[in-house]
């Protein structure tokens, strides 16, 4: 055993590390399978509430969303499903760091190459896959039982690309929010960036109603969040069967948003880690 090879480094090692954390989460799921079914049930109930609520006011609301194609029910159900997945991406980095901090594992992960990032990215990947599966099951259930009037010529590939860019944008904001963990007193509390984004988009981005019905002075705020572009593009693509040209501006905006948010998010999180280690350490309460 006298080799002193040391731990592997590099992108390949990072990918293997990410895979390990995904495997760890999967093992935990096998250990507590009931939690998977309860999460699915919780999402079905949550979506069921929105489904019946939108069905209830559909007669009145359909005309306000006619420009997107489909009914108000489809408008809301798609929005809520997409939002739940993006919300997972937004919250995951901070919650992962918070969990490791209180379980006193942050330094254990930090000590080996890529460990911290493998943990944050691995947990994110697992939670994202989990949320995608749950929301797909819920959407399939509602589409099967009630119908969602997807356009027969919907550009599914472009919709998936838009969805991916949306998730990456939310993840970038999540990294940015996670950086606050090391320099604000939020160790047990709520992460402010994610909290602001989460509530502001519910109000302004067209999640439950079109942006056009909110007062004009609030409307500019909606442009600050990727959700606004993603909701509009995906509804137009899936419900109206819109062509690429119709949603190009939204998709390009999302691509730029994702690139910038992830770059800034990674930079700020790295910076906050370095700052913590130059101060009292990553395991210390501010």
């Amino acid at each position: 055993m006298t080799r002193h090879a040391g731990a592997a480094a590099g992108f390949g090692a990072l990918l293997r590390g990410i895979g390990s954390f995904v495997w760890l989460e999967y093992k935990a799921l096998l250990y507590y399978p009931a939690s998977f079914f309860m999460t699915v049930l919780q999402s079905v109930i949550n979506m069921g509430i929105w489904f019946f609520l939108s069905l209830f006011i559909s007669g009145y609301a359909d005309r306000y969303v006619a420009s997107f194609g489909g009914s108000y029910v489809a408008y809301v159900v798609l929005g809520v499903a997409f939002h739940e997945v993006a919300r997972t991406a937004l919250k995951s980095p901070f919650l992962s760091i918070q969990t490791a901090f209180w379980e006193k594992r942050l330094e254990t992960y930090r000590i080996f190459p890529q460990g911290f990032w493998a943990y944050v990215l691995g947990r994110f990947l697992w939670q994202l896959l989990f949320a995608l599966v749950v929301q797909t099951v819920v959407l399939a259930l509602i589409a099967g039982l009630a119908g969602l009037n997807f356009h027969p010529e919907a550009n599914v590939g472009l919709a998936l690309l838009t969805y991916l860019l949306f998730i990456l944008s939310a993840f970038g904001l999540g990294l940015l929010g996670a950086s606050t963990f090391f320099f604000l007193e939020v160790k047990r509390g709520v992460e402010p960036v994610g909290w602001i984004v989460d509530y502001a988009v519910r109000l302004t981005s067209g999640l439950y109603y079109p942006v056009t019905i909110i007062p004009a002075f609030i409307r500019p705020l909606s442009r600050a969040f990727p959700h606004t572009y993603a909701f509009r593009a995906m509804r137009l693509l899936l419900l109206q069967g819109a062509a690429w040209q119709t949603v190009a501006a939204d998709v390009i905006t999302l691509a730029v948003y994702a690139a910038v948010a992830i770059a800034i998010g990674f930079y700020l999180l790295r910076w906050s880690l370095a700052r913590a280690e130059a101060g009292n350490g990553v395991s210390a309460v501010v």
Partner: protein, 365 residues
């Protein structure tokens, strides 16, 4: 091996072993902590103060000191988890101030609590499989290395057991096995036997010696157990209040006591309400007896530690220049004070005696 002399850097330099794997000078770390109940007031706390040391390849260096001495902070600076506020030097050839990431990726650390990093949803073997993947160990080598380590840490027959169903000592060995997966040549063990029963602690010590001898792993371990440091370490540094107060081999440190000896007396019926070192009180009942002992000829230091106030059970440490004379005067004095002496020790000095000589306090404080 020298005593502390606050303004003289040379006194804190260790003898320079060949092939210095750790070579640092003047490491200092100041923590800034918020005062309780205050929103803005920040108190500075010097956790490590001007520490210099060198560790040679294949050496086991012990860092001995009581809780709060700065042992863990020193380890964190040396393994790249904390950036020193002042100082300079290298670990494995990398600058401690600017190459923390490079250091982190080449050292192993076992934290004081064995459960840290051990996942209870994975069996013993699965835990090692998980960390092997995280460490980027190639698939073809993984099984062989895990098998070797399970044998080495004597957990082969527990490989399919959940960590929650094995003893704390076994979990500590699992944590050490995890840290050895990467085959780094420098291992930091922070209080490796804390919270373990005597047998579990003994097995960890045997294991530490084995990996040092057989695998040439350089080890820096912290402990507040004197016998552990004596048994394992080729050299020892004694930390107190963030500063090195002495360093050398166990034998060299014991020579610091010179003609002075410690009399250790276990007794009941001792006066309760001992004035603590943090909050000395002349009104404490123990103050009288301590004062009386201090007045005895040849007595240099006195420490009274009563751990069961109801029956006055405790220990008295007396540093004296003349053991026989002091003992002859001390025992009647204690009997007159109502104490029942249950045991007296005044043999060869050990590291706790050294620490008491240097600081006037026991290691348990």
């Amino acid at each position: 091996m020298r005593r502390r002399a606050p303004k003289d850097d040379a006194t804190r330099e260790a003898a320079s072993p060949p092939e210095g794997i750790i070579d640092v000078r003047g490491l200092t770390k100041v923590f800034r902590v918020k005062e309780k109940g205050q929103r803005t007031a920040v108190r500075s706390f010097r956790a490590v103060d001007d520490v210099s040391l060198r560790v040679g390849r294949g050496e086991i260096l012990g860092v001995l000191g009581p809780n709060g001495a700065g042992k863990t902070t020193l380890i964190k600076m040396l393994c790249g988890l904390l950036v020193p506020d002042r100082g300079a030097g290298t670990v494995l050839g990398f600058d401690v101030l600017h190459r923390a990431a490079a250091i982190r990726s080449r050292v192993s650390l076992v934290a004081p609590t064995a459960d840290i990093g051990t996942d209870n949803n994975l069996t013993v073997r699965e835990n090692l499989q998980f960390w092997a993947a995280v460490y980027g160990i190639p698939r073809r080598e993984k099984k062989q290395r895990i098998d070797e380590l399970l044998v080495l840490v004597d957990l082969k027959d527990r490989e399919d057991t959940w960590p929650m169903n094995i003893s704390a000592g076994m979990r500590q060995r699992l944590a050490i096995a995890r840290s050895l997966l990467a085959e780094n040549e420098l291992l930091f063990l922070d209080e490796p036997t804390v919270k373990l029963d005597p047998d579990g602690a003994r097995r960890i010590r045997e294991f530490v010696l084995r990996i040092n001898r057989e695998d040439r792993v350089t080890i820096l371990l912290t402990t507040h157990l004197m016998y552990e440091a004596e048994e394992l370490c080729s050299r020892i540094i004694v930390l107190d209040g963030g500063r090195i107060v002495a360093q050398g081999t166990a034998q060299e440190l014991k020579r610091l006591v010179r003609g002075e000896r410690i009399i250790e007396i276990f007794a009941s019926g001792l006066p309760a309400g001992t004035a603590s070192a943090d909050a000395p009180s002349a009104d404490a009942p123990s103050a009288d007896i301590e004062s009386s002992i201090r007045l005895l000829p040849s007595v240099l230091e006195v420490e009274l530690d009563v751990w069961d106030g109801a029956v006055g059970q405790g220990r008295l440490l007396v540093k004296t220049a003349d053991v026989d004379r002091t003992t002859a005067l001390l025992l009647p004095l204690l009997q007159d004070a109502g104490a029942r002496v249950e045991g007296v020790r005044s043999g060869e000095p050990n590291l706790e005696d050294v620490f008491f000589t240097l600081t006037g306090r026991g290691l348990a404080k």
